[in-house]
Structures are given as structure tokens and as C-alpha cells.
């Protein structure tokens, strides 16, 4: 599992090593062509190489996942402050998360992409900015428990600043419970971007798997099953791997599971 994920990541990092063709460039063949030695995954209706597209789509998926997870992680750090300082800031933040969690995330993503325009950077920012509440809650809950721990008191007693206590004493203790959810967050972001592209709301200039799936949906009527199958298989593959990874990380880091409590 880890090896497959590593291979995918490598492909995403260096797509040019795997294929020399340009993704989304039309006219390699005249119309739909079945997989052949020249085109391992065939081409679509406009003669675009499916293999090149899929390979570059891997890069897009990793790009989306990493960027969105990073953005939501940074925003979610607020949960730590809320948990540590408590009071009104805490109340406000928690009401905002309630609000964001009450409305289905995907609906919000669709609304905001329509409002702000289907530019790739926009989509990443929107997905990232809408997926922090769960993480923030985890961080807040962990901080609430950790700030009562003795080592925090002992840090206070030797005169540590509260910002230092937060980042130096508490933050490393939060990580074990946050890392598995980061892996999940990653896969959710990838799904969201694919879904947006599939609906035709994505950036038309980016070789996303979602866009290819929507093209494949039409190609299948002309017998072009390979156009639909390739991105779907890869997509399922990546997401299963990510979820397994999250599970594994959880087993590894969750102290409650580790000691069989």
C-alpha cells in the first residue's frame, strides 16, 4: 500500500519521466482510438492521449490534496488558541464551526466556485478554506485536555510565555491525533476537486481526473470505455490508499488503541 502510494506520488512529482506527450493536447489521433502500444490507454474523441492526461492528473490530485490540507491545517490552528485561552474567542470560533458544519460542504464549494470563478487557485483556496472545522475541533478538544496537564503547569512555573507553551509544549502532543485526520482531509480534498471538475465547474485548463471522467461519460457511448475507466481506477486506487494510510496512522498514533483501553 505504502509502495503504491509512493509510486503514485513519484508519478505526480515527475509526470514528464513517465510520458513525453502533453496532456490535453488534441489531435494525436483522429478521433477516439483504443489502447495500443503507441497509446497505452488510448485517446479520446478529440485525439487527446488518455495516459498523459491521467499521469498529469495524478500531479493535480496531489497538488490539490497538499495545498488544501495545508490551508485547512493552518486555519485549524485557531482551534488550539481557542482551546487554550477559552472565553469569548473560543465561543465565537465554535459557533463558526457549527455553522460551517451545518451546511453540506460540497454545496458550499459549488456555490463559492460559481461565485468566485473556476480558476484552479480559487478552487484550492475554497476547498481549503471550507474543510478546517473538523480539524479545528480536534485541536481544540486536545488542547482543552492538555492544558490541564502537569507539564504545562511546570512550564508556566519556570516562566514560559503562553505562546511558547502553546507551540512548544502542547502542539507536539496534539500531532498524534491530528495526523490521521490530515490524511483523511487530503483524500476529501481530492474527491471534492474531482467532483467539481466532473460537474464542469473546474478549471478547464487543468488536467484533472474529474474532467476526464466527464469526457469519458460521453466517450462510453462511442465504445470508448478506456477513457472512463482509466481515471476512475486511478482515482479509486489513490483514495483507498489514502484511507488505508489514515487508518494505519490512527493505529500507530492513537494512544487509546495502542494500549487497548
Amino acid at each position: 500500500m505504502g509502495l503504491l502510494l509512493a509510486i503514485l506520488f513519484f508519478i505526480g512529482l515527475f509526470p514528464s519521466l513517465v510520458t513525453k506527450r502533453v496532456a490535453m493536447k488534441s489531435g494525436y489521433t483522429a478521433g477516439l482510438a483504443a489502447p495500443s502500444p503507441g497509446f497505452p490507454l488510448g485517446t479520446d474523441q478529440l485525439g487527446r492521449d488518455v495516459f498523459a492526461w491521467v499521469v498529469n492528473g495524478t500531479r493535480v490530485a496531489f497538488y490539490v490534496g497538499t495545498a488544501c490540507t495545508l490551508i485547512s491545517f493552518v486555519i485549524a490552528l485557531m482551534g488550539m488558541f481557542a482551546g487554550y485561552y477559552g472565553g469569548r474567542v473560543d465561543q465565537m470560533l465554535m459557533r463558526v464551526t457549527d455553522l460551517t458544519m451545518a451546511v453540506p460542504r460540497f454545496v458550499l464549494i459549488v456555490v463559492f466556485t460559481t461565485l468566485l470563478g473556476s480558476n484552479f487557485i480559487n478552487i484550492i483556496l475554497i476547498i481549503g478554506a471550507l474543510s478546517w472545522p473538523t480539524l479545528a475541533r480536534i485541536m481544540r478538544a486536545e488542547t482543552l485536555a492538555l492544558r490541564e496537564r502537569e507539564f504545562v503547569l511546570s512550564a508556566r512555573v519556570v516562566g514560559s510565555r503562553s505562546i511558547d507553551i502553546l507551540f512548544f509544549e502542547i502542539f507536539p502532543n496534539i500531532l498524534p491525533s491530528v495526523i490521521p485526520s490530515l490524511a483523511l482531509q487530503f483524500s476529501y480534498s481530492v474527491i471534492d476537486e474531482i467532483a467539481i471538475s466532473f460537474l464542469g465547474l473546474g478549471d478547464p485548463n487543468v488536467a484533472s481526473w474529474g474532467l476526464l471522467i466527464s469526457i469519458g461519460r460521453q466517450a462510453i457511448f462511442a465504445g470508448g470505455w478506456w477513457v472512463l475507466l482509466s481515471p476512475c481506477v486511478l482515482c479509486i486506487f489513490l483514495l483507498v490508499c489514502l484511507n488505508l494510510l489514515a487508518d494505519r496512522l490512527n493505529d500507530r498514533f492513537n494512544p487509546k488503541l495502542r494500549f487497548n483501553l
Binding site: 502537569e150 507539564f151 503547569l153 511546570s154 508556566r156 519556570v158 516562566g159 514560559s160
Partner: protein
């Protein structure tokens, strides 16, 4: 050096207020070691937390003042107080393992604390200082310990590290809250010896909080006996052991004697939980010397020659 005047700390618990520290007055000279003894719940640790102003949120100092080198600690802002912590007054706790951060290496914890109080120091200087601190607390091979995690250390080692941490910015006063209670007997002796040595070496004042009378005679010069939030007897160690006056102190010392004489038949009268009039003697329900007059008057401090003070009605 440290003066506590009429200190009162109240806890808010389930709608009722509990007076954990009641009218405590305490004096400490520079380089003196005083011990605060009493059973659990008598308010010893609350005094320690009050001095450093790290009381839990459900408690508050309701009266009195705490003066350190003439400065009133209760009037300082939180930022000023932060500077006092560690630099002027530091603290050692009971269970070193829970007071060290489990996910950080010893070296990182030490250098973080060193950095807090001397921000300009270079990385190499910080490591040097950390190693120096560990050797001060007699840790063999300190450079190797720096890369260890707390769970890899034994209790005695961890307590030494904790002491090193507390000494990292040369405090004048160290509050040791049951520093040996979580350790084995042999390790207790070592840590105590270390504490004594450090005290002479760095001219520390030590406020030792304990329920263990055997430690007290070993290190402290004066003793305050606490019962139910009040100081019931105050004396130099020799005076206290030779001539205990408060019935509670007498019971404490006799309990030790009986334990040592392997006679375990000692039984204290169970603490009565009945409603009591606020000003009456709190020890009355357990007092073997209770006189009828005791329930009619408030106890007061009786002074004896040689500095002994006893809170009693008699």
C-alpha cells in the same frame, strides 16, 4: 525575603465556597529552608500555587498579601509575574514524569526554558548550559541524557532533570512540592541530599512542602504545621521535635514514633464532618486534649520563647 500575610484562598466547588488557605502568615529569610507540613488537603500546595499565582481557575486569593523581596506579587501584572516565575521563584513537583513533557527530548525541554530567560543565547551556549545544569544535579553522562525522552529515565533521574529545569535561570527561592513522595526510599535520600547540596551551593531558599516528617528534620530549619488551611504551629525544627505543643503536632510526631516502633495500632479519631462555627477551632473534633471551653471560644496564636507559635484555645 518571602512574607505572606493573612493569606486566604477560596475554592469554588459545586456552588459552595471552600476556604483552602485560611489566614496564613509565613515568613522566610534569605537562604532559609522552611518546611510546610500537613496532611493532604490541608492547603500546602495551594499556598505554593498562590505564591506563583498559578492557582486553578475555580480558586482565587480573596485576602492577604504575598511579598517577595519587598515586592507585592499579587499586584504584579501577568507579564511581570511571568518574569518572576523561574527567574526569582521556581518550583519542583511531586511526580517528575508527569511534569516533563512526554513527547519532547530532555535537551529540548531544558533549552526551551533556558531560552525563555536569556533570549540572546546562541545554540551552542544553550547546549553547554543544559549540560552544565544536568551535571549540577549529578546526572552521569549528561550529554547523552539530552537526547533521551522522559519515559526513558528512571524516577530519580527524571526528578533530577526536573530540579535542573527549575534551577535553569538561577532562582532565589525554590518551592519543592512533595519532591520525594513519588520516589523509592533510597532515591528519596539521594534527591534530598542533592537538594541540600544545591541549596548550599547556590544560596537557595527552599520552601519544602511535605507530609513526611523524616525529611523535615533532615533539611529544614523551621517548620510550619498546617491543619485544614491554618497554620497551627510554627517553630524551629529542634523545638518542634523536642517540645510539640499543638495537639495535632503531638499526634503527628507520635504517629511516626508508633510506626517506627512497629506498633501500628495508632488510630486517629475520624475527622468529623459536622457543621462547625466558622471561628471555632478546626481541629476540635479530632483533638485528644479538647476541653469543654474549646467549643466556646476562637483559638488564637500563643507565642512561646524561642519563636514557637501555636494556634490553640488553651
Amino acid at each position: 525575603m518571602l512574607k505572606i500575610r493573612d493569606l486566604e484562598v477560596q475554592y469554588q466547588a459545586a456552588g459552595s465556597r471552600i476556604r483552602a488557605v485560611d489566614n496564613v502568615t509565613l515568613d522566610m529569610r534569605a537562604r532559609e529552608c522552611i518546611a510546610l507540613i500537613g496532611e493532604s488537603g490541608s492547603g500546602k500546595s495551594t499556598i505554593a500555587n498562590a505564591i506563583l499565582r498559578v492557582l486553578p481557575e475555580n480558586s482565587a486569593i480573596t485576602r492577604g498579601e504575598i511579598l517577595f523581596k519587598g515586592r507585592s506579587l499579587l499586584d504584579l501584572t501577568e507579564e511581570e509575574m511571568r518574569r518572576v516565575r523561574g527567574k526569582d521563584i521556581s518550583m519542583i513537583f511531586q511526580d517528575p514524569h508527569s511534569f516533563l513533557n512526554p513527547v519532547l527530548r530532555i535537551g529540548d525541554q531544558l533549552s526551551e526554558t533556558i531560552k525563555t530567560h536569556s533570549p540572546g543565547l546562541s545554540g551552542a551556549k544553550i547546549v553547554e548550559r543544559a549540560i552544565e545544569l544536568l551535571s549540577v544535579v549529578s546526572i552521569p553522562d549528561p550529554a547523552r541524557i539530552l537526547s533521551r525522552y522522559p519515559h526513558q529515565l528512571s524516577g530519580g533521574m527524571a526528578q533530577r532533570v526536573a530540579i535542573g529545569l527549575a534551577l535553569s535561570s538561577d532562582p532565589a527561592l525554590v518551592i519543592a512540592d512533595e519532591p520525594t513522595s513519588a520516589l523509592d526510599l533510597t532515591i528519596q535520600a539521594q534527591v534530598l541530599k542533592l537538594l541540600k547540596g544545591l541549596r548550599d551551593r547556590f544560596n537557595l531558599s527552599v520552601l519544602l512542602i511535605t507530609h513526611d516528617l523524616s525529611i523535615v528534620s533532615n533539611i529544614a530549619e523551621r517548620v510550619y504545621v498546617m491543619y485544614s488551611g491554618q497554620i497551627v504551629e510554627e517553630d524551629r525544627v529542634e523545638g518542634l521535635y523536642r517540645d510539640p505543643r499543638h495537639p495535632y503536632t503531638i499526634m503527628l510526631l507520635e504517629a511516626v514514633k508508633k510506626l517506627q516502633g512497629s506498633d501500628t495500632s495508632f488510630s486517629a479519631r475520624a475527622e468529623a464532618r459536622e457543621e462547625r462555627v466558622e471561628s471555632r477551632c478546626k481541629f476540635l473534633p479530632r483533638c485528644p486534649q479538647a476541653a469543654p471551653a474549646c467549643s466556646e471560644q476562637a483559638p488564637h496564636y500563643i507565642e512561646f520563647p524561642g519563636g514557637k507559635k501555636v494556634l490553640c484555645c488553651a
